[in-house]
Symmetry: C2
Subunit: 673 residues, 2 copies
């Protein structure tokens, strides 16, 4: 069966390769379009290279620490390295193809919506399949090469998840700072001050803005979801091995394999000759892969498990269903088809302040139902198999059920930035407005799918974090974690504070970097004669440089905060009392997960809602484009940028990295008891 | 000793009476000033009357439920009623004198700063002394009349805290909505659109704005701090009675009595002939009462306690010190003498969006150190007396240590709105600008003291909540609350979500009410001929009505959310499994406290920082008044209004009401086990 799993992983990667070939053979359009697309490619590649280069020393130190000081020595270190490498690869792959699919989508949009949709979707699916293919392959290979040879080494594979989560965190933060510094800078000077449209080639920050979509929304998202996939598989494997031995380890991987096949089949359902609305194609693909995974899960649980077959099938189904439900709720709060976004748009009439107050309240409100979905899913997952150790394995399997759909969801998410870039290229290359109209249609769907994917990423991170927490308790040999004891209560307080502080740093980084960007754009408008009249060319490279440098410099502090807080508190307290230390770490994980998930939902959904409220005003509501309402809505949208694309999504990585690093240090501290 | 405690409470009230007489004998100024002051009084009184009238049915239902269904029957019901009544009284008293001290302060400001400071400070101290006097007297009388007669009834006094916290919650929410709907409405149309200065009599919402200061910042604050005082005393008495019997019950009350005496003495240190800076007088008063309380605590612990005397003295000292430290941190993050506020002002140069992004990040960041102070205080309070039951009593005594300074801190806090109102009256009555200059000087100090008091209110609420949580565990006979069990973990998640949802409702209420206010102000400018030229009079009453109706209508949903969530989850789950229900309630209290304290700190400090960033720009920095930076800073300030004066401070009441209602229902559910 391990062979089948490895083959499914390889199949995922082969399908990604096939999709990328099918994208790359398309026409890139005229010289102007090529030139723009290549500038975006170069900017994105240069940034990712610098970003990953900056992380090498950090990764190397951890590699050596794991190699020399952990129980399993270089088995752990190698697992860590492979995790870090694969996470990097997942992001890179997504960026590589997204920066090449953009101009091709623009070119196709001159012909037909359907063809453009196909290219953008294929481009996105490359990352979707890459993420799950690499995830499954990595975990399965490590299992075969390390744990299957020597079952005592099973614990070492958690270093794989740690490596992946560390890279994911920096990819999310760095990419998030880059993209939003560029976006905020470009919007505030371009749209608000100079009064030129979005993606106008006269705006010096326009290339940086498009690069940002690829390094933030694509590469960052890819690394993050790869990590969720890896961490969930590993938590499920660890809990499964404690409970059922090899069978418990193999089932989550088989679910992953089934998910890959279902996602591949799902991609073929996107095309339909009839409808003009791209949303229905994406939805169909989603539902097909949901249904196929559910069917596969029925047979897998039935034939692989020794007992509790139906119970665990219900559990996986609950995880799958949670995806759909969270997606629906997210859509309700962030789409302008519904009341919340319309009300935000309405409150723009009385200015930016009321727009922001209302929008922030929508973000806060949007936490309630997803939290209840998570609570419901975990309750089902724990109680249906009978609670106790069976229940914890159930929680991990529910998380695996959610993530088995990652291929499809990441695919339709990465589609968004490609469509967005395609629109930018149409504008910058001065193509006929009809082309922009097609890409706008693609892009507006992308906003909804991005919101759904964010809900998915946060929801699955929450359940993954709970599964990691259970795995931590097992590894730390904790039989109870009594919150009546102040050390645990205070651990919860301290842990809950970390996401707040993290968001402060991440938002601050965007604010400061955007400030530099604004200064530069203003300078170019002032000092380059003829720029605003379209007679001179802007110095795009310099803006890309500013975003790059700012992101590299400012990702370190927020990136190190979460893992170091666990290490410092863990070892610091352990010097006095190792049991208290394990208690505090446990408390911190609970607190950080609770506040992290809530903040992430608030920020992601408020940001999405502000964005679509602005778009709703642009459709002509409450005065339409150029009105005072529109100006107010633009302020809300700009504030929402770092909410939804920097701080919010990075929090997934924050809570998971805290979980994975706790798994690594738990045995050390437990040994000091 | 009980007599001594009762006498101290009475002394506090007598001193409040003396102070109020000394304020009331001052001159109210000319006819115009009297007219304005009376309009503010009438608006505030009418609102409080309607607010409390609305709450009577809710309180009556709870009274009957407690009377007929609880173990101690009408002993509990009466305790509840007295708690609700005293909380109401505390708010009423503060409002009564504040609305009468305002014009008198203005009048005195025509003579000397010193005299004006004296009146405003005395006016504030009336509420300070009223809060602690009523608090101590209420708790001590109930103890004498109920628990001392029949020690088995000691449990019934927690209904006093529940009554107080329920009123406090509605007072905070209702007052917060009133004041910010008026403030936001007045600012957005008056300052931003019509370009008239703050407190200009041409602005129809100007009286409502001044009424708001009194019903929100004074009456709401008074009810809230009364409640903290009551809940902390009661948690300490309950934990003390379990541990040490009557001695354990009496010590917290004696600390409160000592605090009252120290506060009274402290008030005499405010006056100094020399300095021109009112801040130093307020600081001196604060430090004197800190020092005297500390000395008293040393002797009280030494002579009252049978053992652990020095240990518990250190604990009380830790609580007292936490006040000063949290105050300093709050000042750092919200005063424009320091970097954070200056940087917010600086980022206003690039527009409202960057101002808001930076300001929000300051709010998020400001959570870290206060949380660590709370963690440090609780750690000392728990470990120094030796942990276990001794430790929990220590936590309650540390909280009592913090709150023993409430008289002084509430006093210097309520001083702020009086100074603010005095400035408004100077402006509206068209007095010489030199008067406004004096009141502005008083007001700017008020901003700092308000921020310190908010930090104090949140910090003490955090420790009170922990003490209530311990008392809940005792009452529910929980021997452990193992967060490894999903029911508790999910309880934490659910509880952590409540403050988010609460803030959503509270902010929404302000946004919607402000929207109505803006429409009304715009209408009056449009329809009343000559209003903007100052030739016609605005219809102030109508604006007061709008705020009143909006606050009454919209306080219900957020006000009921927190207590009902505990009742519904508690009894709902108990139907299936009472143990799981108690676990979930325990988890909810932990989650709500953690996320509530963090959100409250974020919102209160971000709001304070935005406010002072605007004031800093108004001093001439980054373009000064009327510049684009100023406009951006005004947007941030306006967004900060509901953050710092509606949602943020109400969260204290939210987490405490969840704690007190859990105390009430714990025995029921425990009986179902």
């Amino acid at each position: 069966m391990t062979i089948f799993i490895v083959l499914a992983g390889i199949l995922g990667l082969l399908f990604a390769f096939y999709l990328s070939q099918s994208v790359l053979k398309e026409d890139m359009g005229n010289e102007k379009m090529k030139e723009i697309s290549i500038a975006i490619q170069q900017g994105a590649t240069a940034f990712l290279n610098r970003q990953y280069k900056t992380l090498i020393p950090i990764a190397l130190i951890i590699f050596l620490l794991l190699g020399f000081f952990t129980e399993h020595g270089f088995a752990s270190a190698i697992a860590f390295g492979v995790g870090a490498l694969f996470s990097t690869l997942a992001g890179y792959l997504g960026m590589y193809i997204a920066t090449r699919a953009n101009a091709r989508t623009t070119q196709a949009a001159q012909g037909s919506l359907k063809k453009a949709l196909g290219i953008a979707f294929k481009g996105g699916s490359v990352m979707g399949m890459g993420v799950v293919g690499l995830g499954l392959l990595g975990v399965a290979l490590l299992y075969m090469l390390i744990a299957k040879q020597n079952p005592a080494l099973i614990d070492s594979i958690d270093s794989f998840a740690f490596g992946a989560s560390l890279i994911a965190l920096f990819a999310r933060v760095g990419g998030g700072i880059f993209t939003k510094a560029a976006d905020v800078g470009a919007d505030l000077v371009g749209k608000v001050e100079a009064g030129i449209p979005e993606d106008d080639p006269r705006n010096p920050a326009v290339i940086a803005d498009n690069v940002g979509d690829n390094v933030g929304d694509v590469a960052g998202m890819g690394a993050d979801l790869f990590e969720s996939y890896a961490a969930t598989s590993i938590a499920a494997m660890l809990l499964g091995s404690y409970l059922l031995g090899a069978t418990g380890v193999i089932l989550p991987l088989l679910l992953g394999a089934a998910g890959i096949l279902a996602s591949i089949i799902g991609t073929f359902f996107i095309y339909s000759g009839k409808e003009s609305n791209p949303q229905s194609g994406l939805n169909r693909s989603l539902y097909v892969s949901f249904l196929l995974t559910a069917i596969a899960a029925y047979f897998l649980t039935k034939y692989v498990l020794p007992d509790h077959q139906l119970e665990y099938f219900i559990v996986v189904l609950a995880g799958l269903t949670a995806n759909i439900l969270i997606g629906k709720v997210t859509e309700y709060f962030t789409s302008h088809a519904y009341r919340p976004v319309k009300k935000i748009a309405e409150s723009s009439q009385t200015g930016a302040a009321t727009n922001v107050i209302y929008g922030f309240s929508v973000g806060l409100e949007s936490t309630a139902v997803p939290i209840m979905i998570v609570i419901g899913t975990v309750t089902v997952a724990y109680l249906v198999p009978g609670g106790g150790t069976y229940g914890f394995y159930g929680i991990a399997l529910a998380a695996m059920g959610m993530l088995s759909m990652a291929g499809t969801i990441v695919g339709i998410d990465a589609y968004g930035p490609i469509a967005d870039n395609a629109g930018g290229i149409a504008e910058m290359a001065g193509l006929d407005p009809s082309v922009r109209k097609v890409t706008d249609q693609l892009d507006s769907v992308g906003n909804t799918t991005a919101a759904i994917a964010k809900g998915f990423a946060i929801g699955s991170a929450a359940i993954t974090a709970i599964a990691l927490f259970s795995a931590f308790a097992e590894k730390a040999h904790l039989v109870s974690l009594d919150v009546l004891h102040p050390s645990i209560m205070l651990g919860v307080f301290f842990g809950a504070m970390i996401p707040f502080l993290f968001c402060a740093y991440a938002m601050r980084a965007v604010g400061t970097a955007a400030h530099d960007m604004i200064d530069e754009v203003r300078r170019q408008f002032r000092e380059i004669p003829g720029l605003l009249e379209g007679k001179a060319k802007a110095d795009y490279k310099r803006c890309v440089d500013i975003s790059t440098k700012a992101a590299i410099k400012r990702m370190i502090k927020p990136g190190l905060l979460a893992p170091l807080s666990i290490v410092v508190v863990g070892f610091g307290v352990a010097l006095f009392n190792p049991i208290t230390s394990l208690h505090m770490i446990g408390g911190m994980l609970v607190g950080a997960t609770a506040s992290g998930v809530l903040l992430a939902l608030t920020m992601a959904n408020a940001g999405g809602a502000w964005d679509n409220a602005k778009k709703y005003v642009e459709t002509g509501a409450f005065g339409g484009k150029g009105s005072e309402s529109h100006k107010a809505a633009v302020v809300g949208d700009t504030i929402g940028d770092p909410f939804k694309d920097t701080a919010g999504p990075s929090l997934n990585a924050v809570i998971k990295v805290m979980g994975t690093i706790s798994l690594i240090i738990a045995p050390f501290i437990a040994a000091m008891v």
